[in-house]
């Protein structure tokens, strides 16, 4: 297989493999949702940190 054929085959293979992953691609969120930041991991982290702070304050002594 010459380089040109190899490159073509590589491209096809790469696109086919990526297409196999497409089913796992989340749908595009609505722009308004995205801008508000609902359900973004960063917010989940924030909630997590707040929860930890609360737990430390409320921990029975």
């Amino acid at each position: 297989m010459d380089t040109g054929d190899f490159e073509r085959e590589l491209r096809n293979r790469m696109k086919a493999r990526a297409a196999e992953l497409d089913g796992s691609t989340p749908p595009a969120p609505r722009l308004t949702t995205l801008l508000v930041g609902v359900d973004r991991p960063r917010n989940r982290d924030r909630k997590g940190r707040f929860g930890l702070a609360f737990a430390l304050v409320a921990w029975p002594r």
């Binding site: 590589l10 992953l21 497409d22 691609t25 989340p26 595009a28 801008l35 991991p41």
Partner: protein
């Protein structure tokens, strides 16, 4: 008070134009980020943040000058690198992604994900990124160079070395 409506309408029109672009670009943007961070939630978060920043630029009249996809990729790439530098979470820089892999990735065991891992393991980080941008996302040498901070000739060198390296591993195509 009476002036609020036209501004709002203008914004809505602006956002509608952007939304069309973004909905079309989202799957590729998400895939691009995922191929480097290899974690679903992180990829979704970076892609969303990239879109949010892109919209901010768009509203300020600083939208893409060329291909919007390359523009979004550049924003996302900078985010990944930036977060890696300052986050306690082990974000993967695009240049060292080969050395770290988050095993918690829900897609990590799929045949396609394993194939991409195999591809990556045979290449340097630069070769790997250039190869994906060229063959998977169909960007030009100039666009890839702009994204990766390389000259077009540098991109071509990385690509030809990547292809040469992979030709020594025919199992990639098996």
């Amino acid at each position: 008070m009476g002036e609020a409506a036209p501004v709002s309408t203008r914004e809505l029109t602006l956002n509608a134009g952007f939304e069309e672009l973004y909905v079309d670009a989202w799957p590729r943007l998400y895939r691009y980020v995922w191929l480097f961070v290899r974690n679903h939630e992180d990829a979704e978060d970076v892609a969303a943040e990239a879109v949010r920043r892109a919209l901010g630029a768009w509203q300020r009249g600083r939208g893409p000058r060329g291909d919007p996809m390359a523009w979004l990729f550049l924003i996302a790439r900078r985010l990944v690198i930036d977060r890696h530098r300052r986050s306690p979470i082990r974000w993967l820089p695009l240049s060292s992604v080969d050395r770290t892999f988050d095993g918690s990735n829900s897609l990590g065991d799929s045949e396609a994900a394993v194939w991409f891992d195999q591809l990556r393991s045979n290449l340097s980080p630069r070769q790997h990124e250039a190869l994906l941008l060229r063959y998977l996302f169909d960007l030009s040498d100039e666009q890839i160079g702009h994204l990766m901070g390389l000259s077009a000739a540098g991109v071509r060198t990385n690509l030809s070395r990547a292809v040469a390296a992979l030709r020594a591993h025919p199992e990639v195509l098996s």
